[in-house]
């Protein structure tokens, strides 16, 4: 990118943040498969939208979410102020998809192949959204798993290169093997918020941080 283009982009980003305070920010929920992204998106939607509709179905089988889904105008109220965001639940990002892994979940080959094809399309779509269409990122990790993976490192690097505000959510703190410290150590440059989207643990801090970072 040339210096002038860089300057122009910086100025236009600054200008858009000055002049579009009222527009809801599109916040992408990213992370590896099975981190609990949809569970989180559903909890936010249930807590803050009138009808409390779910964003999408939750499942323990990887790649349940194979299309990016957007929930618009989610109003989160914190400290007397209201923050409006669109939440975008995205398919879990990976560099590989093997349909035979779905066969272990009692799936017929035809269904497994279809699921893997949809999953690959979903990951490509998620990457496209990240480059073009989100204003901030919630990066969700399963705190019972090793965060030191290449996908996490690459995704955080990609998010940082776009200068997007990012919050890391250490999910599944209800699990015995959970370690929030391990995640903080892996990404010390970013704020890490512990939570259990499934159990609703620590959601007050979650909403405080969302309002602070994306409001």
């Amino acid at each position: 990118m040339g210096l002038l283009t860089g300057l122009r982009d910086s100025i236009s980003r600054a200008a858009s943040s000055l002049f579009s305070e009222q527009d809801p920010k599109r916040i992408g929920i990213y992370g590896p498969p099975n981190a609990g992204k949809t569970t989180l998106a559903n909890r936010i939607a249930r807590d803050w939208t009138e009808h409390g509709d779910a964003v999408g179905p939750e499942s323990h089988i990887p790649h349940e979410t194979r299309r990016a889904r957007r929930k618009e105008n989610v109003e989160i109220e914190r400290n007397g102020k209201s923050v409006s965001i669109d939440i975008v639940d995205t398919p879990g990002v990976t560099t590989k998809v093997d349909y035979t892994e779905f066969l272990d979940h009692d799936m017929e080959k035809e269904d497994a192949v279809r699921r893997s094809r949809e999953a690959t399309e979903g990951v490509a779509e998620a990457m496209h959204w990240l480059r073009e269409d989100v204003d901030g990122v919630i990066y969700v990790l399963d705190s019972a798993e090793d965060p030191f993976t290449q996908v996490n490192t690459m995704l955080i690097g990609i998010i940082e290169s776009q200068d997007l505000p990012v919050l890391i959510f250490a999910n599944k703190i209800d699990l015995e093997e959970s370690s929030v410290k391990r995640i903080r150590n892996a990404f010390p440059q970013h704020e890490t918020v512990p939570l259990s989207a499934l159990e609703g643990d620590n959601m007050d801090e979650v909403y405080d941080k969302i309002a602070e970072y994306f409001g």
């Binding site: 560099t95 590989k96 998809v97 093997d98 399309e121 490509a124 940082e160 200068d163 440059q189």
Partner: protein
């Protein structure tokens, strides 16, 4: 476009081919040319080692193109490993202004997902097991 076509490929498949690609060879190529070199090599079952890694934007496109090429029973995707970028890489004000898109200078290993398995990874060591499939 530069390809690896001039590289002699072995007639038998007893071993695993490793392509170590210098920064000089990648210099001046477009993102898609780099991605093509990597994926063409990996889809032939080779391990590709880049002296200088990809930029975040190129990594993002590599994931996207890889996904479009995955095909059941033929290509399951890639395994990619590189050292995490340290905090002082590209973190300068000018770096941010320029979109931090400068070359990250990190050795990167890429291989077919069903042939390479990462055994251990930390800030300074990547240990991987490569099989012939």
């Amino acid at each position: 476009m530069i390809t690896m076509a001039e590289v002699k490929t072995p007639d038998d498949t007893d071993g695993v081919q490793i392509d170590m690609i210098s920064a000089q060879r990648m210099e001046g190529l477009t993102s898609m040319e780099k991605i093509r070199i990597i994926l063409d090599g990996v889809r032939e079952g080779n391990i590709v080692i880049l002296e200088e890694g990809l930029t975040p934007d190129e990594e993002s496109r590599l994931i996207e193109v890889t996904m479009t090429e995955i095909s059941p029973d033929e290509f399951n995707g890639i395994e990619i490993e590189s050292y995490p970028q340290s905090d002082d890489d590209g973190g300068s004000f000018l770096g941010r202004l320029m979109g931090k898109d400068s070359a990250p200078n990190k050795l990167t290993v890429i291989g077919p997902a069903d042939q390479i398995e990462t055994l251990h990874k930390d800030e300074t060591l990547i240990s991987a097991l490569v099989s012939r499939n």
